[in-house]
């Protein structure tokens, strides 16, 4: 080392404290402590049974939601959306027009179709808030249960989510028979959301 450099070296070993140096030292220490703290705080392990249960819904890619336009029914749409969000599943909204046996299935039922369009539009708006892919269909059948089963089969639904009215809730067709049909004949998973009587409206 040259004498000039040695002199420079000697000049710089004297103690010297600068504000910026203290700040840099504090930043360095804080950053190191933060990194170490984060590294050691590892999330808790998930057991095989818990993981299997938690991820069992991941295979649900298409959820069929029957709707009648009633509040309890649209609540079923919201419930389905929340179930679909994590795996970005598709929602298929279905409104079943029950055609009396005295009429052919294709008979014009303008009022019912208008009601269906209104109900499906509300449902679509609910789904749109979640940003999920959605389709809506009007299904004609002799009973609501038959229509839902047929729609689920046509669209290869993984899950049916449907809101149920409480018994004694007037103004909309009861779901007792429909629920029975779904429970006994649906080939996919079914979730019923029965709203308590005092909140059904």
């Amino acid at each position: 080392m040259s004498p000039a450099v040695t002199m420079m070296l000697m000049a710089y070993v004297q103690p010297h404290t600068s504000t910026l140096g203290v700040i840099v030292a504090a930043c360095f220490a804080s950053a190191m402590i933060t990194v170490m703290y984060w590294m050691f705080h590892v999330p808790h392990p998930v057991s095989a049974d818990v993981a299997r249960v938690r991820r069992s819904l991941d295979v649900t890619r298409l959820i069929l939601v029957p709707t009648t336009g009633a509040p309890y029914s649209q609540r079923g749409v919201e419930l389905a959306c929340r179930l679909a969000e994590e795996q970005n599943a598709s929602i298929v909204l279905v409104f079943v027009i029950e055609v009396p046996r005295t009429l052919p299935l294709g008979a014009p039922l303008e009022n019912a179709e208008e009601e269906a369009r209104r109900a499906l539009e509300v449902g679509r708006q609910v789904v749109a808030l979640h940003g999920l892919p959605v389709r809506s269909i009007i299904q004609r059948a002799r009973t609501a249960g038959d229509g839902i089963i047929a729609a689920a089969a046509d669209h290869r639904a993984d899950l049916i989510v449907t809101g149920l009215a409480s018994r004694g809730d007037h103004g909309h067709p009861g779901w007792g028979h429909t629920a029975d049909t779904l429970l006994h004949r649906a080939s996919c998973e079914v979730i019923f959301d029965r709203v308590p009587p005092d909140t059904a409206s």
């Binding site: 080392m1 040259s2 450099v5 420079m8 070296l9 710089y12 070993v13 004297q14 103690p15 010297h16 404290t17 600068s18 910026l20 140096g21 203290v22 840099v24 030292a25 360095f28 220490a29 950053a31 190191m32 990194v35 170490m36 984060w38 590294m39 050691f40 590892v42 999330p43 392990p45 998930v46 057991s47 095989a48 818990v50 993981a51 299997r52 938690r54 991820r55 069992s56 991941d58 295979v59 890619r61 795996q87 290869r156």
Partner: protein, 526 residues
């Protein structure tokens, strides 16, 4: 069907390696390499880049961060032994997996040799006469025989430690690494508080700008980039890490940040305390010299820094032993090298043969390097270091890009940021822009290595060609394709790996993704 293709699932699921590396152990496997590189690189970089050393470290740090993030994603997604070799195999096929493996194997064997030599050099701080004892025989002059023997003995000790088991060698890393981190942090904090002069740093930077030399800067930056190998070590240990998909992203990202903090802090501190000229000719112990210049602790800094350097360099050599043995173990599992290496020790359950054989190659490299003369051993070993790393990391970047498209179903607990979503045939792929930038960056480094490293550009390719000749003979003998790929049940292996790693949540996510894909295929066929 050939013997090998009849059992394509072999390789990861049946490895039998114990999972006993903890969070701290995983972090320390990486730090063992990177921490030592700071000790070696600081003086070299400052001597080369001069007043621009902080910028050189920052530039190198950017490339390092990109490589680190790529390794973080891949090691967390595929937590198996093999590191870059396995990633290249998954993404690019058998041949490129072999090329990446042989390049990284070169680095690991040199890692063992280089850091064992450097560690014994620091030990000789207390016995200065030892490194001066030389012998001359035949065409070899001034062979530092004692220093050479010290390094060889260190490697033999590390072999014994690693054969005995992972827990033992992991414990060594953990204890020594902790001491080193505390010590380095102390030097930095006390240095900034009691000795740092920002005006000196500013003055040297402006002087450098006034006489900017791109060649010097590029050379300094390429030296700083040597510290890449640390993250490779973490991915090598992933198969023995508890819950690797959860732990590896944390340890990798922590390591990236720690190294970046240390590199920029040490370079800023150095140029804020001493003129860059003070480091010229003191490349061997820059940290010791820096510590010696700090008030209050300078009195004991010399011996302390020597002990510190010896320990961190020793655990770096130990990390090289671990990584080389596990890489070759993985390569034998995939029929790149003989199955003879594929035997786990019946008592310790460690790949004892691979540990001994490739650490033995490290010993051979030490002897050959010393035969070139006392002052050239470290230079020769260091010269070959960058070639293997650059080649391996280039293939890893390409593999990462391809795997985003060929294997979109494997759950990725961590993803390299900056992605462009591409929707194609009902699938969503994420194109990693950062990996493309990283590919270009590493390509530039590889080009720089070939242009500027006289020994590296000859010895590096020669090593890979020699490995290829062995590979071709072995594969032909086994009637396996040399350039083609064997059938691999990647999906089955991936499930087995995740189950073995007790990453049950990821396992179920993976199964759900495969089920969805299978159903989509059935729907498309109907």
């Amino acid at each position: 069907m050939t013997e090998a293709s009849a059992a394509p699932g072999r390789g990861v699921a049946e490895s039998g390696l114990r999972r006993d590396v903890t969070v701290w152990g995983s972090y320390m496997w990486g730090y063992a390499d990177v921490g030592a590189d700071i000790y070696a690189a600081l003086g070299l970089v400052i001597a080369s880049a001069q007043g621009g050393a902080v910028a050189a470290f920052a530039f190198a740090g950017l490339v390092y961060i990109m490589i680190g993030l790529a390794y973080t994603e891949l090691a967390a997604t595929y937590p198996v032994a093999g590191g870059g070799q396995y990633f290249a195999l998954r993404g690019l096929g058998d041949f490129w997996g072999f090329v990446a493996g042989s390049a990284l194997l070169l680095d690991y064997t040199i890692d063992i040799a280089l850091f064992a030599v450097a560690s014994s050099g620091y030990i000789n701080f207390f016995f200065p006469a030892a490194s001066k004892i030389t012998v001359s025989f035949g065409p070899f002059h001034e062979v530092a025989i004692v220093w050479c023997l010290e390094a060889v003995v260190l490697v033999i000790l590390l072999i014994l430690l690693n054969v005995k088991g992972m827990r033992e060698s992991s414990l060594l890393n953990e204890v020594l690494g902790a001491i080193d981190i505390v010590s380095e942090s102390t030097i930095i904090i006390i240095g900034f508080i009691f000795a740092w002069r920002p005006e000196l740093l500013s003055f040297q930077w402006h002087q450098q700008l006034a006489h900017w030399n791109w060649r010097q800067f590029a050379y300094g930056a390429s030296l700083a980039i040597i510290s890449f190998v640390g993250l490779e070590s973490i991915s090598q240990a992933a198969q023995e890490t508890r819950r690797p998909a959860t732990i590896v992203p944390r340890t990798s990202i922590s390591l990236i940040l720690t190294v970046f903090f240390f590199a920029t802090a040490f370079s800023s501190l150095s140029l804020g305390i001493l003129p860059w000229q003070a480091f010229v000719g003191r490349e061997g112990d820059p940290v010791a010299m820096l510590a010696h210049s700090i008030p209050y602790i300078g009195m004991v800094a010399g011996p302390f820094a020597a002990v510190l350097g010896a320990t961190i360099l020793l655990i770096s050599a130990n990390s090289g032993v671990m990584s080389a043995s596990r890489l070759t173990f993985s390569m034998s599992r995939f029929h790149f090298i003989s199955e003879w290496f594929d035997v786990v020790h019946p008592k310790y359950r460690t790949p004892a043969r691979t540990i001994m054989i490739f650490s033995g190659i490290g010993i051979l490299q030490i002897i050959l390097a010393f035969l070139a003369g006392r002052d050239r051993a470290l230079e020769i070993l260091g010269n070959m270091y960058a070639f293997g790393a650059s080649t391996g990391y280039l293939l890893v970047f390409i593999a990462l890009i391809k795997l985003r498209f060929t294997d979109p179903f494997s759950p990725r607990p961590y993803k390299v940021p900056l992605n462009i979503q591409i929707h194609r045939k009902g699938m969503t792929y994420e194109f990693p822009v950062l990996a493309v930038i990283g590919t270009l960056g590493v390509s530039m480094i590889l080009l720089m290595v070939v242009l500027t490293h006289e020994i590296g550009r000859i010895a590096g390719p020669s090593w890979i060609i020699a490995c290829f000749i062995y590979y071709a003979i072995y594969r032909r003998k086994k009637k396996l394709p040399v350039f083609g790929a064997l059938p691999h049940d990647w999906e089955g292996q991936q499930q087995q790996v995740l189950e073995d790693a007790e990453e049950f949540d990821l396992l179920e996510r993976y199964r759900a993704a495969l089920a969805t894909r299978d159903r989509a295929r059935i729907d498309a066929e109907q």
